[in-house]
Amino acid sequence: MAPTTVAQPYRFAKGGRIDRTRPVHFLFNGRTIAGFAGDSVASALLANGVHLVGRSFKYHRPRGILSHGVDEPNALLDVSRGPGRRDPNNRATMVEATDGLVTRSQNHWPSLKRDIWAVNDLLAPIIVAGFYYKTFKWPRTFWHRLYEPAIRAAAGLGLAPTEDDPDRYVHRHAHCDVLVIGSGPAGLAAALAASGSGKRVIVADEQAELGGTLLHDASSTIDGESAEAWLAGALAMLRAQRNVTLLPRTTAFGYYNHNHIAMVERLVDHPAPGSTALPRERLWQVRAKQVVLATGAHERPLAFADNDRPGIMMAESIRVFLNRYAVAPGRRIVFATSGASAYQAAADAKAAGLDVTMVDTRPEAGCGVQSARLRALGIEVLTGHTVLGSVGRMKVRGLIVAPRDATDRIGSRRTIACDAVGLSGGWTPAVHLFSQSRGKPVYRDDIDAFVPGTSVQAERSAGAAKGTYDLAAALAEGWRAGAEAAGLDGTRSFAVSPPTRTGFTPARKLPTDVDASRVRAFIDFQNDVAAKDVELAVREGFESVEHVKRYTTTGMATDQGKTSNMAALGLVSDALGRPVPQVGTTTFRPPYTPVSFGAIVGQARDALFDPIRTTPLHDWAVAQGAVFEPVGLWRRARFFPKRGEDMHAAVARECRAVRSAVGIFDASTLGKIEVVGPDAAEFMNRIYTNAWAKLEPGRCRYGLMLKEDGFIFDDGVVARLARDRFHVTTTTGGAARVLAHMEDYLQTEWSNLQVYLTSVTEQWSVIAVQGPRARAVIAPLVSGMDLSQEAFPHMAVRIGKICGVPTRLFRVAFTGELGYEVNVSADHARAVWEAVYESGRTFGITPYGTEAMHVLRAERGFIVVGQDTDGTVTPEDAGLAAMIAKTKPDFVGKRSLMRPDMVAADRKQLVGLATQVPQLVLDEGAQIVADPRAPIPMKMLGHVTSSYWSTACGHSIALALVSGGCARLGQTLYATTPTGFAAVRVVEPVFFDRHGERVNGDFAHA
């Protein structure tokens, strides 16, 4: 077999799992790259002889493709799939080659080949680990103006997206009995075993194809079949089962509490984007009864000088490129290894017709039969050698090796010419998810690796993820894990031939013949951390592996150290002379590989970000041109501007209408709770500060509610409908928390009370009709109720009909005017509203919004909880001492009011403020001081809580909380303004209708 296609000079004519009938073309740095369906961008680049694909983070060294999978630290590309569909830092090894992709290398200027920032490589002796902590401090202002911007510009990898993402993302919750993560031999065996139980099985694998290492295993047979055929058979069997869900392109990235596993499935990036109704990615949240982790293992590179040149890659990756993608990463390949698995790669390369040399760091005696077998294939095998470096700049041209003896004496150097190098420093089981599940990995000396220890959650590991590298053993282990997870007993063995080549000798940093402290042998390729950086950190006292990580940044790149973490902790172990298990690993954290914000957010964007709650009268308000404001999740009409009116004009007009004639207001968002039961009054007595026992059915009362800490929590008008039934109203924002507060006390403290609570917020829409003409407006519409002053006084409630439908009619006046709040069932609200509006036309009925409502209530000195109070205001502070029933032995919050600081004289109390300049409307939030000429920091006495222009008063009005405020009536104080201070006089917090006479409206006229 030899590479043939001209367009893809490194592509074999036959073999691999690519589909030669489906060519694809994409751009890399403007150049068209040809590949086939089934290629990754990395394999297609290699097929075209492209190795240089990026620049490193710090030194801007030329970098190539190191691996074939998710562990890729170097080959990070900017990928665009059309307008708005561009994002940085994609692993070339994981992006499927598709038509029309536009890919670019990153982190260089002006070009990949010629990168100015590469000067950093010359500064490398200075810019070692942690250098920035030692310098850039002088002169002080330079940090912010010069050094930091320079560091920032040099760092970072790709360019953040700048456009809104047109793609969709969705979520899916799923449950299963057995979740198998990884579909290599271990995972497939597990799935096969588990599926037999008939229980629900989900198999997820991050690769485009299921099969794991079987996808590139050209040499093994399983139970007499080729690996490929066995894989096909296994998949066919699984596909045929209804209880099995197979999810390729699905990465399990987070293992959370109680077997909650988060996975992301990629749905559209592989075919042409935008062509289907499919979302780009789906976030799966799986609650699994049992989990099988068959996530395989990651290969480790070897650490030697200049081990990072393009063309130097993992040995197993070479095997993958050869067998799965039918690509030759080079024609003359040197393998450098400290273990056996690379021999299989070398054999496969040789079989593919490539020129192969094998360099093994282990002594001949340590290599067993492997070296002899390889030599028998005609491959030169150098055992007992070290690697001293590489040559080549933009691409490796040779590997410098030398013999070493048992005492690490280095023999004479030899440069082996090559165009690709395969490294293998052994394997690291992917224990990420196990560790996230809170399991503690334990160190196995024989394989120099951490493997899953005791399970903490309902999971088990199998295969290479557990350090089982032999294929037959991995299959058997997978089978057993799957069976056990499904509650079956049963083991199965698999006949595999030839036996897997396993075993290696850990090599932290290959011995060298030059000053080791000057050698840059990279361990974390992406973050440019060399072995000597780790050693420097340890020398400076950063002994914990966590300190080393943070000081050197090793393992902190986008690959999270998949290829480097073992090397780093091995080096720490060597430097400290402490065994590896005592050094320990750093913490594995989600996500296993980076996950788009979009996937995590899912549908929650635009209109689905947060529900927008609207009332049944919303559309009417929209049609009237209302301007809305968000209040919690609600949208409320703030004002109803007429043509040419700004907010102030509109509000002034709305207020005037209410004061002089009649206004109509949508108060439907008020919280409403029906309190029912023989103990309802007793319950109300305990929850509210005031007394309820004597409130007669048919009457309303303003209620004040505290939290147990004594601070005002909520308020509202409460109607007693019957002895055993109250209709409670709460503030809009308080609806849910008041109900929760009540339920809490009812269920947990006073469970003996016979009371039930039901939210009726949305059952009843509330149409407030306020103003001297209110009665006249509704009178023609109501039936079954006597609206006369005597029969239906202020603060009364009646049940009857309006427009022929039931109503709970409240006579209340938050505006201070004669007013009704018409409660009607929500579906009737629009009809009733329109009828009221119609009926009011003759009186000039005017719809008003929340802003006017605020002005009107402030003119009367009515507080709004949450605006005039915050969570630090007592009833006394708010001027509501009268609301506290002196006779009640207890209510929620009462005890707290007796604490020393709750009765202190300097507490802030609610007062009114009159500005010296009547036109001036203070800012809400303005602070109040006694002497504006006092030095800073100035003593603040309080702040403005509400402030409006009052048309009714002809001047501005304000409410404020002022220290010792009640004793300051008449004093002149100063409130802050955007430009300075304004003089204000402390007044009673009532500005209009001081004695509350207007609530009788047209009755008074009558």
Partner: protein, 417 residues
């Protein structure tokens, strides 16, 4: 202490950095210390530093159960600001901010304090009232904080979406220009190095397991995983673990510990110039010098010491981030983590004496104590050295929960209507 500077760094390069000394020693615990600090976070190490530097107390040990900085000091989103509402808080955080501004010089360690500005967004009328209240209060307290219109906010932070059609449109913002971020680990290491140089013993892998008590119940020593240490003055600065440590002295605390999460995106070139916080949608975000977007999420709802939180918490935050910055939907999270924060009922810290003679506590920083680090450390050192609170920490007593004089910044930002 070998000075850190560009010349010494270059000199270091000449010998391949072989001769840099340890930044702090690894001493064996002594039998007796005048003062022991429990907790090797930035607050604890800073306390030891100021004890040595400003009060000449150098027979001091910092005991850390793991590795220094491994607690919240090493896992926070590094936001620094001082634009707090109440006088008590404002003076505490401003005290710290002034120290931040010269901390790199003082410690001879570049802690990368970066005053890039903290922008707090208002999305509702109520937010506007609340943030203006802050702006005015800050002004009178001599703390910079200014009110910006939406357009001004966008000019300061170009990625911000200020379109009126947003779910929660931006109605304005408060900007503290002196606010920003710092390199959290460097703060820990810088304090450790300077404290160590003055003789403070920093003892890692040393967990405090119990207290020994002398006459009148006063503290006489500590039981630790590395033996008994005698001392008459102990300052507990154990953040999320305060209740656990204090329980060993027989004290219950007004604290609950919750996992608080954060996450970083993959690194990208500079795209985000400042810090943005939004209380209404629960998000805060900045970009680190290395390029990651650093995003703070919320706490889980239950007490936990697990340093692991649920996915729904980070989801909630990312929703908000993408709402404010829709262009970041294709950014990817690279790592998420949690710390355990100790939260008091009024979300303000407790710094001062306890009912046990000789035992002092500095805790309750909850989700926001990194910004206070130098200030907290300095006033706590004062309290430990003199036995009396510094004026700045005088209001932050344990006693306030009895009297009701709470310092409740969060309650002051109550949700409207």
């Amino acid at each position: 202490m070998r000075r850190f500077s560009l010349p010494t760094l270059v000199a270091g390069a000449l010998n391949a950095h072989r001769s840099w000394p340890r930044q702090w020693r690894d001493p064996e615990p002594k039998a007796y210390y005048d003062t022991v600090i429990v907790g090797g976070g930035a607050h604890g190490l800073g306390t030891a530093y100021y004890l040595a530097k400003e009060y000449g107390l150098t027979n001091v040990a910092v005991l850390e159960k793991g590795w220094i900085g491994g607690g919240n000091s090493g896992r926070n989103t590094t936001i620094i600001r001082s634009n707090y509402l109440y006088d008590e808080s404002a003076s505490l955080y401003e005290h710290a901010l002034k120290l931040w501004e010269r901390l790199s010089d003082e410690l001879n360690y570049n802690i990368m304090y970066s005053a890039r500005g903290v922008l707090m967004l208002a999305h509702t009328v109520h937010d506007v009232q609340s943030l203006k209240r802050h702006v005015y209060a800050n002004r009178l307290n001599g703390i910079d904080n200014e009110w910006l219109t939406p357009a001004e906010a966008r000019a300061f932070c170009p990625p911000l979406d200020i379109s009126a059609g947003a779910r929660y449109p931006v109605m304005g913002a408060a900007l503290q220009r002196r606010g920003g971020t710092a390199r959290h680990d460097a703060v820990v290491w810088g304090y450790a190095r300077s404290a160590d140089a003055m003789g403070v013993d920093i003892i890692q892998n040393c967990e405090v397991l119990g207290f020994t008590r002398g006459s009148g119940g006063a503290v006489s020593g500590l039981e630790t995983t590395r033996g008994t240490i005698r001392t008459r003055r102990v300052g507990v600065v154990a953040a999320g673990h305060t209740s656990v440590v204090m329980a060993r002295a027989g004290l219950r605390m007004p604290l609950e510990s919750f996992p608080l999460q954060a996450l970083v995106s993959e690194p990208v070139k500079p795209v985000f110039p400042c810090v943005v916080m939004s209380n209404a949608v629960h998000a805060y975000i900045s970009q680190s010098d290395k390029g990651e977007l650093v995003i703070g999420a919320g706490t889980d709802q239950y007490v936990s010491y697990s340093q692991q939180g649920g996915l729904h918490i980070t989801t909630h935050t990312l929703e908000a981030i993408c709402e404010l910055f829709p262009q970041f939907r294709r950014m990817k999270t690279m790592r998420s983590w949690a710390g355990i924060v100790d939260v008091t009922p009024d979300r303000s810290p407790i710094i001062g004496k306890t009912p046990v003679p000789g035992l002092y506590v500095n805790c309750g920083w909850g989700t926001g104590g990194f910004k206070a680090t130098p200030g907290s450390a300095q006033v706590f050192a004062h309290t430990l050295a003199t036995g009396e609170p510094h004026p700045v920490n005088a209001p932050f007593t344990l006693d306030r929960f009895r009297t009701g004089r709470l310092i409740d910044e969060a309650a002051a930002a109550a949700v409207a209507h």
